[in-house]
């Protein structure tokens, strides 16, 4: 069977599965819509959290980013996993005990203030929309690459599928489809990783193959470690060594911290822990979530290293005509481009860009059959442009894997994008229907009315996200720093102090949130949009890049909250009583039925 047909079958089959789950888990109450009725098992919630968390970027782009930046990419690996430790110990169990539906709900109640609630709602909506636009785009791109449909049609198909299970099934529908999506995406990621590891090192586990010696083409041990070989290859090409970094230590430190605290403060992740039955399940479930995430996150750096070695050894100084077929396939898709600067018919790699900007093909073919480019060449000897997403997308072909594995990767990419999009859309809809409508504008709304409002809000959010997916604002790639920076500088400190510092009052919390938010927002906007030419280490405060500035915003948040809190009245006795209550597990079942 040809790859195209298989891909249609796999992606189509996964959609049928998701829709079947959605129909089977229709909901009838707001509690089911917001938190799946609070009856999800810790393992299922762990898998759902992992799918919720791992986006199209984790699935498609991360291994490529690691392959091209080596040690520097460790900030993502540590940052996006270490946050779960904070979540498991500092936030999840107590928020589960508190037993409400949303993050603004906790902030509004704990700080006895609708101002705090509204600030939280605004943050939730901003953070989630930033994130979801990228997911919709990701879905479209996967469709475009594997099914050769237009990106816009891909986005529209994604919208219809998410609409189906998010609007019908709410959190319950999302949870069980996410479990299925996790299975699809992890299988799709690990199968090529295992094959690649066996091919390169003879190890079944990519995690151990990563530290093993390479095999030659005949399968004999060369006695050279993969990473030693990789360091040697990249330094010969003029890059810095793979295993050492180029970022300053302070920047690595701050970025890692912003990603960790941002992860722990992201509303669509936190809310997943409201869906388990008991406090102890929330703790265990965070462990399962990290376990499921770690399977991908410990494989990805290995995949990055395998693929980079393979790529350099296969392509560098090889005649274009004798390159494997995948090189030409991906050149035809526009992810690879070659310009024969020294006219020797061979492909040379080197650090630095081979030409200015993304490849622009003239539509003609050169003497070797390559697609000609109209880009102005740079004066470095490098001749080849390789999009980083190749690392994951082309792996099955590079490893000579059967066609069904390619189809599986397509289904995995779609699963990763849809599962994250659905989780974010639910958070947006519940912030509007529950925290704005029910808690503020129309407190006497009926259960039925609120459920209808939640569904309408979800539907509207899907349409807006789809709009941004089809017409992506030019800055989508740059605003990822926003989501984490803002979550770290606003939610994380406020929730943490709400639990661990009984004396924290509404004045302190609101002041801290605003300072953290405004500072982080301004810094990122300044360096990313107002004066992008200034975005270099010598202009950054303390050498901290916009990606890491959320950590400084978080420190300001803590300091301002604590100072303001000392000069204002302590919270009322009943609030202090609530804090006492959320600190002990007993009675969690009763707390949820309000």
């Amino acid at each position: 069977m040809d790859i195209q047909l298989l891909t249609y079958l796999f992606v189509g089959g996964s959609f049928v599965l998701y829709i079947a789950i959605a129909i089977a888990s229709r909901v009838g109450s707001t509690k089911e819509f917001y938190v799946a009725g609070g009856g999800v098992s810790p393992i299922a919630n762990g898998a759902a959290t992992a799918a919720d968390w791992m986006s199209a970027a984790s699935f498609i782009s991360m291994a490529g980013i690691i392959a091209y930046s080596g040690y520097d990419a460790s900030v993502y690996l540590m940052g996006w996993t270490g946050g779960y430790v904070l979540l498991a110990m500092l936030l999840a169990p107590y928020l589960r005990k508190f037993g409400k539906f949303t993050v603004p709900d906790f902030i509004g109640d704990r700080y006895y203030s609708n101002v705090a609630r509204t600030v939280a709602v605004i943050c939730v909506i901003f953070v989630s929309f930033t994130y979801v636009a990228g997911q919709m785009r990701g879905t479209g791109i996967v469709f475009a690459r594997f099914l050769e449909v237009d990106v816009d049609i891909g986005v529209a198909i994604g919208m219809v599928i998410v609409f189906f299970y998010a609007v019908l099934g709410g959190m319950k529908g999302i949870t069980y489809t996410q479990v299925a999506q996790y299975c699809v995406l992890i299988f799709a990621f690990t199968v090529p990783a295992i094959f690649l590891s066996i091919m390169m090192t003879g190890h079944i586990l990519p995690q151990t193959g990563f530290g093993a010696t390479l095999l030659d083409a005949a399968g004999n041990d060369t006695g050279v470690y993969l990473l030693t070989r990789l360091d040697q290859l990249v330094t010969e090409l003029g890059f810095s060594a793979y295993t050492s970094g180029t970022k300053s230590t302070i920047d690595v430190f701050f970025i890692t911290a912003a990603l960790m605290c941002g992860t722990a403060g992201l509303p669509h992740v936190i809310v997943r822990f409201f869906t388990v039955p008991r406090v102890r399940d929330a703790r265990v479930s965070a462990g399962w979530a990290l376990f499921f995430i770690a399977i991908l996150y410990t494989s990805a750096p290995a995949v990055g290293a395998f693929a980079r070695v393979n790529l350099i050894e296969t392509v560098d100084n090889t005649a274009y005509e004798s390159l494997p077929q995948w090189f030409r396939n991906w050149e035809n898709s526009g992810l690879i481009a070659w310009t024969d600067k020294n006219a020797d018919g061979e492909v040379q790699m080197s650090a630095g860009d081979p030409f200015k900007g993304a490849p622009v093909y003239t539509g003609e073919r050169g003497s070797h059959g390559e697609r000609l480019l109209s880009n102005a060449p740079t004066d470095n000897p490098g001749e080849v442009y390789i999009d980083r997403d190749i690392i994951v997308l082309a792996n099955p072909e590079i490893g000579n894997l059967p066609a069904w594995v390619v189809a599986l990767v397509a289904a995995g990419g779609v699963a990763a994008a849809l599962s994250t999009a659905a989780g974010l859309l639910l958070v947006i809809s519940s912030a509007i229907s529950h925290d704005l409508l029910k808690k503020q504008l129309k407190p006497d709304i009926s259960e039925k009315g609120e459920l209808l409002a939640a569904r309408i809000a979800a539907a509207v959010a899907i349409v807006i996200a789809g709009y941004f997916g089809i017409n992506p604002p030019g800055f989508v790639a740059q605003v990822v720093a926003f989501a984490f920076g803002l979550a770290a500088s606003s939610f994380f400190p406020v929730i943490l102090m709400g639990i661990f510092y009984k004396r924290m009052n509404k004045e302190g919390a609101i002041a801290g949130m605003l300072v953290g938010l405004i500072f982080t927002f301004s810094y990122i906007v300044y360096f990313k949009f107002v004066a992008p030419e200034m975005n270099t280490p010598e202009h950054w405060w303390f050498g901290v890049s916009p990606e890491g500035i959320g950590t400084l915003g978080m420190i300001f948040n803590f300091v301002v909250s604590l100072v303001v809190c000392r000069f204002t009245a302590p919270p009322p006795a009943e609030i202090q009583q609530i804090v006492e209550e959320i600190r002990v597990p007993r009675g969690a079942g009763a707390a949820v039925d309000h």
Partner: protein, 85 residues
Amino acid sequence: MKGKSRQDYWKANVRLIATLLVIWFIVSYGFGVLLVEPLNTIHFFGFKLGFWFAQQGAIYAFLVLIVVYAWAMNRLDREYDVEEQ
């Protein structure tokens, strides 16, 4: 006595969290970031040790920390009689 015991429970919890977070800090920010250069002179299988912590070891340690926390808290819940029924 119930109030007293709940406060002790909370103190024990905070102590446990503090201990585990120190380890959390050391394996990631310590071994993976601040001390990465000196640790890279040590070889661990085919890895430089600092690099291994940054891309593999820290993640395994995080997982162990959560498991230990969940297990220790279940014990603590029973010990102080605050577990869910």
